[in-house]
């Protein structure tokens, strides 16, 4: 048996475990108290919804921790047209057909 590989894998598993525990400690209060601030679309208190997003929160919790601290919500996607529209001088709402 490769003792080094075993030690490395055992250590890695501990790190992953700690990360997930951290996620659990953050996520449980977050889905109850904080989620409305980060995503205004979350309305009401559906428990099943919270359970469904829980596994993802255990992975992506730092993203929401940062947004919660900065008081931000989800950004809008960036597509080529959206970026170009941002860059372009915007005319007043204009008519076509002319």
């Amino acid at each position: 048996m490769n003792e080094f590989a075993i030690a490395l894998v055992e250590w890695l598993l501990k790190v992953i475990h700690a990360y997930l525990i951290g996620g659990l400690i953050f996520s449980v209060p977050f889905v109850i108290f904080g989620i409305h601030r980060v995503d205004p679309n979350v309305q009401g208190w559906s428990i099943l919804f919270r359970i469904i997003i829980m596994p993802g929160l255990l992975i992506f919790w730092p993203l929401f921790a940062v947004r919660l601290v900065r008081g931000k919500t989800a950004p809008t996607e960036r597509t080529a047209h959206r970026v170009a529209a941002q860059a372009a001088p915007q005319p007043a709402p204009q008519g076509g057909g002319s």
Binding site: I6, E10, D39, N41, T79, Q86, Q90
Partner: protein, 346 residues
């Protein structure tokens, strides 16, 4: 998504879809185990746990082929769209089959030994040559990707990760597929050298690659067009008569596709990319006065690219002018949700 999230937005077709999916898989697993016992009799009666590992693994692998085929098939014929809208549930079910396969393997092959089963799984075979390669690692890699996809499959994630990031994450299904082909090729196919298995996996691979190329070739035509932009910043993109009523012509301008819709004697243009899951709006249709995405039915008003209240999705709009039968389209997008007077067909 702009009204409150639901755990799952059930409707009749989704229920039928899920019932068919679950029933087929249950039947597959049952038949697999039954068939093994039928052929094996006493030889396999005590090894049922291994049979279940094979049943779950093969079911997941076959389902993955179905899942990966749906996308390109809808490019080839819209009649496959009814299979697409709930593909996420298929993906989650496929992931769960993979989990059962992995759990069974972990307990059956790696437990009751002198190491923690997961450590044993990860360190047992460290020969990284081609054929002896630890195929288990490829399976774990594929399963982790499918897991990430499954746990982010709710619209909450689509919104919070944004559609492009979410899509990029979910495009990793192709990486997962290649890892799993490797997993099967270096695993099951090394133990079972029956030509049927090798040929079946090979045909599966050729089919998946082939149907994607086929669909991509069909798509490529659209993106290859180039348009001359006149001094006013408008491009002649074609004639009114090309566009069927309530439908769109899709052209590529300003680095992305634009959907140019004809409806009620008017022409409007919006960015082709649905804000929900980046579906192709140009393959949608005007229903109840709104452009309706063919993927999940998200709707946008053609005049301003905004979803009707209470929804808040907005996509960029484009100015349109008509000269006789020709349609001239601005090459500069307006900010998402900017009202644009539709061009009226004389």
């Amino acid at each position: 998504m702009s009204v409150s999230y639901k755990s799952i937005q059930w409707n009749r077709q989704k229920i039928i879809y899920d019932l068919l999916l679950v029933a087929t898989i249950a039947l597959y697993l049952y038949l697999f185990v039954w068939s093994t016992q039928w052929f094996g009799g006493a030889d396999v009666e005590r090894g049922l746990r291994a049979i279940w590992i094979r049943a779950y693994g093969s079911a997941a692998f076959i389902l993955l082929h179905v899942i990966l085929s749906i996308g390109p098939l809808t490019r080839l014929s819209p009649k496959f769209y009814p299979l697409l809208f709930n593909r996420r549930h298929m993906g989650v079910v496929m992931f769960l089959l993979g989990v059962q396969h992995a759990r069974g393997t972990l307990a059956w092959y790696h437990d009751f030994g002198n190491l923690d089963p997961i450590v044993s799984l990860l360190t047992g075979n460290l020969n990284f040559g081609f054929i002896p390669f630890p195929f288990e690692l490829l399976g774990i890699g594929g399963l982790l990707i499918l897991g990430l996809m499954a746990i982010t499959s709710h619209d909450f994630w689509l919104h919070n990760l944004t559609a492009p990031v979410w899509k990029a994450l979910h495009m990793c299904v192709y990486l997962a597929y290649s890892l799993l082909v490797g997993h099967v090729f270096l695993g099951a196919l090394q133990t079972n050298k029956h030509p049927f298995l090798t040929i079946a996996v090979g045909i599966g691979l050729v089919w998946i690659v082939g149907v994607h190329f086929w669909a991509a070739r069909k798509e490529a035509g659209c993106d290859r067009q180039t348009f001359l932009i006149n001094t006013e910043g408008f491009a002649d993109i074609g004639s009114i008569s090309e566009i069927p009523e309530n439908r769109a012509k899709v052209v590529t301008l300003a680095g992305e596709r634009i959907a140019v819709f004809k409806y009620d004697g008017k022409i409007s243009a919006i960015s082709n990319v649905c804000q929900h899951q980046n579906g192709p709006l140009g393959e949608g249709k005007i229903l109840d006065g709104c452009i309706t995405c063919p993927w999940h039915g998200y709707q946008y008003r053609p005049e301003d690219g905004a979803s009707p209240p209470p929804f808040t999705e907005k996509v960029p709009t484009f100015a349109v002018r008509l000269q006789g039968d020709r349609i001239f389209l601005s090459a500069t997008p307006n900010l998402p949700g900017t009202p644009v007077e539709p061009a009226v067909i004389a």
